[in-house]
């Protein structure tokens, strides 16, 4: 197969809810999440927000900033410092008509709640043949790239993705952060909502009031279970999600300068998984690299490779490769750049996709 030299015409295809207003208003990822929470609480009195330091402080990342002042301490409140307690209490509240949104302060601090998540949040609807639905959103600031110390940078998505009953989301753009959190809160199923910490301060030209109107008018396309082509290309597909999306896009841009047209798929939704969008892209390009920050062994990335080769075997010109974290505990701040998937490592993987014959 010969290389395609033509660069892709554009990026960010597949989004139909781009605001039409010309005003250049920007928002950060964090502000979009904050607005989504506020708008959901405004829209539905059953929506509650609780966790550690989410009250007057507004959360350690300020995602819940101002919610207690605006909605009162009955609707946005601090709990005792116990994660199983937070999620276990959310289960009971959801059984009794509430739509709890809870914050686990950091990825690794969610582990004490693992039993509640796996044995009850995920299983209760099935256990009761759907009589009990648990519309709970578990927000988890996650992954690395911020120079965090141990227990503050884990990519824990595989634990949740491996647990039937959970929806697992990881937004990568400001717009998706808003719409996906609104959609998660509205979902009848429990959602593990992974917020890439390193993207909290990323900015986009977005008018949050426009996003609210779009969502409230029912005009935001569904994102749960729907991947998106973040950058169109023809030679190879990078399949990624969450914190690795900007890295993959940067790699695609660099590859374009070298004459390779790389498509980037932002999964957004790890569970449910959008086989259709991913397979369609790989069948078109014939080559794929999965990029994710978590250790690669028995990971979401492994699952994606398996699914792609099961569905696209006859379209593949090369084995599907992975660029992931190493199979080691997340490193200390000064060492994390050796671990994280980088543009160079992604480009090396793309180079290894058997281009010669």
């Amino acid at each position: 197969m010969t290389q395609t030299t033509e660069a892709p015409a554009g990026n960010a295809v597949g989004q139909s809810d781009t605001p039409t207003r010309a005003a250049k208003v920007t928002s950060t990822f964090a502000k979009a999440l904050n607005a989504a929470l506020a708008d959901a609480m405004e829209a539905d009195p059953a929506v509650l927000m609780f966790g550690e330091d989410v009250g007057p402080l507004g959360g350690v990342f300020r995602i819940t900033d101002g919610l207690t002042a605006r909605f009162g301490e009955e609707r946005c409140f601090d709990t005792p410092l116990a994660e199983a307690g937070i999620i276990g209490m959310a289960v009971g509240m959801a059984m009794n008509g509430m739509r709890p949104v809870v914050e686990m302060q950091f990825d690794a601090f969610a582990y004490p709640a693992f039993e509640q998540v796996v044995s009850h949040v995920a299983k209760m609807p099935n256990r009761t043949k759907g009589k009990v639905r648990l519309p709970i959103v578990i927000r988890i600031p996650y992954a690395g790239g911020i120079g965090g110390v141990e227990h503050h940078c884990d990519s824990s998505e595989a634990y949740y993705a491996h647990t039937p009953g959970l929806t697992v989301l990881a937004p990568a753009t400001v717009r998706d952060a808003y719409f996906m959190l609104r959609e998660a809160i509205a979902s009848p199923d429990p959602v593990v909502f992974l917020e890439p910490k390193k993207l909290y301060w990323s900015k986009e030209e977005v008018d949050l009031a426009d996003l609210r109107r779009t969502f409230d008018d029912g005009e935001a396309p569904r994102r749960i279970g729907r991947a998106v082509v973040a950058r169109a290309g023809t030679d190879a597909t990078l399949i990624t999600y969450g914190p690795s999306v900007p890295t993959a896009l940067a790699a695609a841009a660099a590859a374009a300068e070298e004459g390779r047209s790389i498509e980037v798929i932002d999964l957004r939704s790890i569970v449910p998984f959008d086989d259709e969008t991913v397979s369609a892209s790989v069948r078109r390009t014939g080559r794929a690299v999965v990029v994710a920050e978590a250790p690669g062994f028995a990971s979401v990335a492994s699952e994606i490779v398996a699914r792609v080769q099961e569905r696209c075997f006859h379209s593949l010109a090369a084995p599907v490769l992975r660029v992931t974290g190493f199979d080691i505990p997340f490193p200390s701040p000064k060492l994390e750049h050796f671990y994280l998937p980088s543009v160079d490592r992604i480009l090396d993987a793309v180079d290894d996709l058997q281009w010669e014959d």
Binding site: T79, M89, V91, G92, G130, K131, D189, P272
Partner: protein, 400 residues
């Protein structure tokens, strides 16, 4: 010098800022001896703090006790006959089971464990729906909302947090719901037990934590589980009252649990009740209790049997006649007959349901897997039709 905080607690000022204890704090401690209103011989032993339940309510509850014992016996028999996978019996603990159910109103919620089948049935849930779990047809067979009974919890203490959330939501909506959450002595070692009591106390929600201390967590005796003066003593650590009650005394259980429920309903917050009882049988039929306790240990509890005790008490007062006793036995037999008949009838199971409730709407992947299972089942039903054609299509599929 002292200052009152928003918690109403006095904090000492000066060199040490540790809060001063209030004189009322010791009232959170349980009674020195478990509350008892009827002794093992059936004699009334009044307690000025806990008025005895009315004769009428005692007689009514006694009927449930008779039925409870019959349900345990019937369930054990069905396990032996292979009609049920397993049964964790509450034999000897039926007074706790009955009291936990009858102290609640319709608007209240019960959060039971796997050993609390009798409590669940006493609350009104259809016995056959309850036994769905243990006969192995599904993980839970009843609609929790119908009688306000949560699913029977198999993991230990996790349900106590759900009870707190249930009560918290009710409180936020201004409802008068009280939640009674059950667990055993072993569960008090679990982290979720502590978190549940702490959350309940901090949020001041209407939950009654009811610990049936039956002295064993499978094989491990209480002494290896906790060296607290009593399990009810744990309550003061969270700022809620704890009380101990004779767990084989139906009258005392009704009085103590009833008082805790009223307190919760009146805005008094959560409390912990520890019932001292005994697991007369093995953990389940799969357990061998002779490996960790002697027959003598068990025999010592026979004279304390809750059923015999209440029968002596009621008979002594001429509240229970032979005819009355026979009528209650007949009612219990009728329930047992329904259980027997139901469990001796195979229920049609539908494998397609396996995929039905995992999510509100099946994912693409679950739709595919459901179709796969469906096709496998269709092939199994018509083996002749699935012969060469099926093999051919498999080959074709592989060469696609």
């Amino acid at each position: 010098m002292s200052a009152v905080t928003n918690q109403g607690r006095e904090h000492a000022t000066g060199s040490a800022d540790a809060p001063a204890l209030q004189s009322t704090d010791s009232a959170l401690l349980p009674s020195a001896r478990p509350v008892q209103l009827v002794d093992p011989d059936g004699h009334h032993t009044p307690d000025e703090r806990y008025p005895s339940p009315s004769d009428e309510s005692l007689l009514g509850a006694y009927g449930r006790l008779v039925a409870g014992r019959r349900i345990n016996d019937q369930a054990n028999a069905l396990v032996r006959q292979g009609r049920m996978a397993v049964y964790p019996s509450s034999h000897g603990q039926e007074a706790c089971q009955v009291a936990a159910a009858v102290v609640l109103r319709e608007e209240d919620w019960l959060f039971p464990t796997y050993r609390d089948t009798v409590a669940v049935i006493t609350r009104g849930v259809d016995p056959l729906e309850v036994f769905t779990l243990l006969r192995g047809d599904w993980h839970s067979g009843y609609d929790p909302y119908e009688h306000r009974v949560a699913t029977q919890a198999t993991p230990l203490a996790t349900q106590l947090l759900h009870a707190v959330g249930m009560a918290h939501a009710a409180k936020l909506r201004g409802e008068s719901t009280v939640v009674l959450a059950m667990c055993g002595d072993g569960a008090t070692s679990e982290g979720d037990f502590h978190e549940a009591l702490n959350f309940a106390a901090v949020f001041h929600v209407p939950v009654v934590f009811f610990v049936q201390n039956n002295e064993f967590a499978i094989s491990v005796p209480l002494a290896s589980q906790s060296v607290a003066p009593s399990l009810a003593h744990k309550a003061i650590g969270y700022g809620m009252p704890g009380e101990r009650v004779d767990g084989n005394d139906l009258a005392a259980l009704l009085a103590v649990l009833g008082s805790a429920v009223s307190r919760a309903r009146d805005g008094g917050g959560p409390s912990l009740v520890e019932a001292h009882t005994y697991r007369m049988q093995a953990h389940t039929n799969a357990d061998d209790a002779t490996r960790y306790r002697s027959a003598d240990d068990v025999d010592r509890w026979i004279p304390k049997d809750p059923l015999v005790r209440m029968r002596s008490y009621l008979s002594g007062l001429d509240l229970l006649t032979e005819d009355g006793e026979a009528a209650l036995a007949a009612e219990a037999d009728a329930i047992a007959a329904v259980i027997r008949k139901g469990l001796n009838t195979d229920v049609e199971i539908n494998p397609a349901e396996l995929f039905e409730y995992v999510y509100a709407e099946k994912t693409t992947q679950l739709r595919e897997q459901a179709e796969q299972l469906c096709e496998e089942l269709a092939r199994a039903v018509e083996p002749a039709a699935a012969g060469p054609d099926s093999a051919a299509s498999r080959t074709e599929g592989n060469q696609r």
